[in-house]
């Protein structure tokens, strides 16, 4: 990488010459460790990932441990070579390019600060490697340390700092190079809750200030929802859904996404014969799951769903209202018995066992607007608006041995 790309201000000027394509593109990326790694499904850590990450976007890779998110990040950074597919940084294929020649920087989960160097020397490390003039190094390090509010700690050794301060040094050390994209591998994982929450806001502020693309790996769904412009939910080496936080939360595409992000209720059944018709929303076709005994779930009809086909529907706990009497009309209604009531301060959580045996969670605000505040053992009717029923796509089949060209579900 030429030193001048580093010294240049963030890539705004670039858009003048090239159309504003994605900052990072992953095209059918596969990473197979072969027989080396035990346990990983089908031997492959990443089984065909397609992603387009936009310029200046705060993009999160979210998933449980072992889902391939860190491997994906390390492939973008250049520490792992994909066994298939392509990784493009600003349109340039990066496969085979060593990490020191990629214009991205990684913030390590363990921070990986150099213990034998002072804070200032840690931050200056990247600039020195790119032969930035001495005076400029001094200025940029100084300014960066001010940004992360550590200017008074410049001469300290990393070990003399607290965890939160070390975290900010790691961030400064990466950001001072003005990379085209900053990659963060669970950077807040080692901090306690309070500090983590304040660092989330801090990271968001810094990202807005510098305008650099952030690719953020986390297993913490709340963190991903708080910070991201878009989230890719990963599971078993595949991306299950990509979208803005609200979309991923409110319209989960698969049962896995529904279960992984927030608390979710999943109901399953078959589409009723007479179940199609137009619902409350003008023009939207709706279907009905008949649960018997006057109970039903009304849902927006999934594409190509025929009567009698099995359907899974999810509904978020805070969208459900509790009532004493069955609501009438073409709305979802399920009867159940309250098994547990948990007071959570701003809201209360109810665990309701339905007549069909499913346990559903319901959140009601404690602001006095709740129609009914039942106690344990009470029989209640659950209802929610049709728009809040989300039919789930069937989970991607755990194919026995997908080749490198296994399709990634969108």
């Amino acid at each position: 990488m030429a030193p001048d790309t580093l010294a240049a201000p963030p890539p705004a000027h670039d858009t003048a010459t090239t159309p504003p394509g994605p900052a990072i593109s992953l095209v059918d990326v596969v990473k197979d460790y072969g027989g080396d790694r035990k346990g990983a499904a089908n031997g492959a850590a990443v089984r065909g990932v397609d992603l387009d990450i936009g310029e200046g976007e705060f993009f999160s890779l979210l998933g449980p441990s072992g889902c391939g998110k860190t491997t994906t990040l390390r492939m973008i950074a250049g520490f792992e070579e994909p066994t298939g597919g392509r990784i493009l940084l600003h349109g340039r294929d990066m496969v085979g390019v060593p990490p020191d020649q990629r214009d991205v920087n990684l913030v390590f989960q363990s921070y990986a600060l150099f213990p034998h160097l002072s804070v200032a020397d840690n931050v200056a490390f990247g600039l020195r490697r790119h032969r930035v003039p001495k005076g400029e190094i001094h200025d940029r390090v100084d300014r960066m340390l001010h940004t992360v509010e550590l200017a008074d700690k410049a001469d300290r050794r990393p070990r003399q700092l607290s965890g939160g301060q070390q975290q900010r040094v790691a961030l400064a050390r990466a950001l001072v190079n003005r990379p085209r994209a900053l990659l963060l591998d669970e950077p807040l994982g080692a901090l306690d809750l309070k500090l983590r929450q304040s660092m989330q806001l801090e990271l968001k502020r810094i990202q807005r200030e510098v305008g650099i693309t952030f690719v953020y790996v986390t297993h913490d769904q709340a963190e991903a929802l708080t910070m991201s412009d878009r989230i890719a939910v990963m599971n078993g080496g595949l991306v299950e859904q990509v979208g803005p936080p609200r979309e991923v939360y409110e319209r989960p595409a698969t049962a896995f996404v529904a279960g992984f992000i927030g608390t979710s209720n999943v109901l399953s059944g078959r589409l009723a014969d007479s179940g199609t018709g137009s619902g409350a929303e003008a023009g939207a076709r709706t279907g009905v799951l008949d649960l018997g005994d006057g109970q039903q779930v009304v849902l927006p009809l999934p594409e190509g769903a025929a009567a009698g086909s099995p359907v899974e529907v999810t509904v978020r706990p805070e969208k459900i209202t509790l009532g004493a009497a069955p609501p009438t009309g073409r709305v979802s209604r399920i009867r159940g018995t309250v098994e547990e009531v948990v007071y959570l301060g701003t809201s209360s959580s109810y665990a309701v066992r339905t007549a069909t045996g499913t346990e559903l969670t319901v959140f009601q605000p404690n602001d006095g607007t709740a129609a009914l505040t039942p106690g344990r053992g009470d029989t209640v009717w659950l209802t929610w608006a049709t728009a809040h029923s989300y039919p789930l796509a069937p989970a991607p089949a755990p194919a026995p041995a997908p080749g490198p060209d296994a399709p990634a579900p969108r």
Binding site: G78, F108, S110, A112, F114, F125, G126, R159, Q160, N177
Partner: protein, 274 residues
Amino acid sequence: MTTTATPSRTVRRRRAVRRGSGLRLWTWLVIGWLLLPIAVMILFGFNDTSGKVNFTWQGFTLTWYEHLFAIPNLTDALLNSLGIGLVVAVVATLLGTPIGMALGRYRFRGRGSVDLLLFAAIAAPEIALGAALLSLFIILGVPRGYGTVVVAHVAFCIPYVAITVRARMAGYDPTLEEAARDLGAGPWTAFRLVTLPMLLPGVVSGALLCFALSVDDYVITSFNAGRTVTFPLWVYSAARTGVPPQVNVMGTLIFAAGLLVAGANVLLARRRAG
């Protein structure tokens, strides 16, 4: 100390001291055992003895420090030993460090065998090694002397370097090197600027150990030295007629220098740890 402490803390400290006093005595006994020979060596370097017999205390003098190089053969032998020690330390460190790094960082086929080999080389009886090397040199027709001593010393020093470096490598976080690569350092620069400084205390310990072992070695050297005389060879041959006090003085100075360098290395390691 006790004046600033609260009464209860003082009492507690006294009790702790009393409880630990047996252990303390034991510790000092062991330390005494370790230091006694060295103390005698240092002391008899100041002995105002006449001639070659240096077994009874005759009074304090600095004359042996003044006339340190009064015995030309002894001086030559010392210079030989120091020279060989330096060369051996450098060569064995260069050869042993990569072995230690590989053992500390990677898992590879033959790792266990290399491990075993290192310990075998340390455990092998010196006298057998020396004799075997001598026959090897004779078979190959290599004239014995300075060079063969260096080769022999390097051979038995490599495992010590490899083992000290490996111990250091075990505590090294390999993501540090990745971080350096990520920040734009090539593989060699990352090693030079990050890995090597972190390993340095181990490397220095290994080099010091080599130097000490080489300067000290009698058994293997005696087989392979040819006409070259090293410090231990000279002292051993002199012992039959009596060891001059200059030997004690030289021993004291080598010991003091070693102590200084080892102390500096500990300080260096502390500084690097931050």
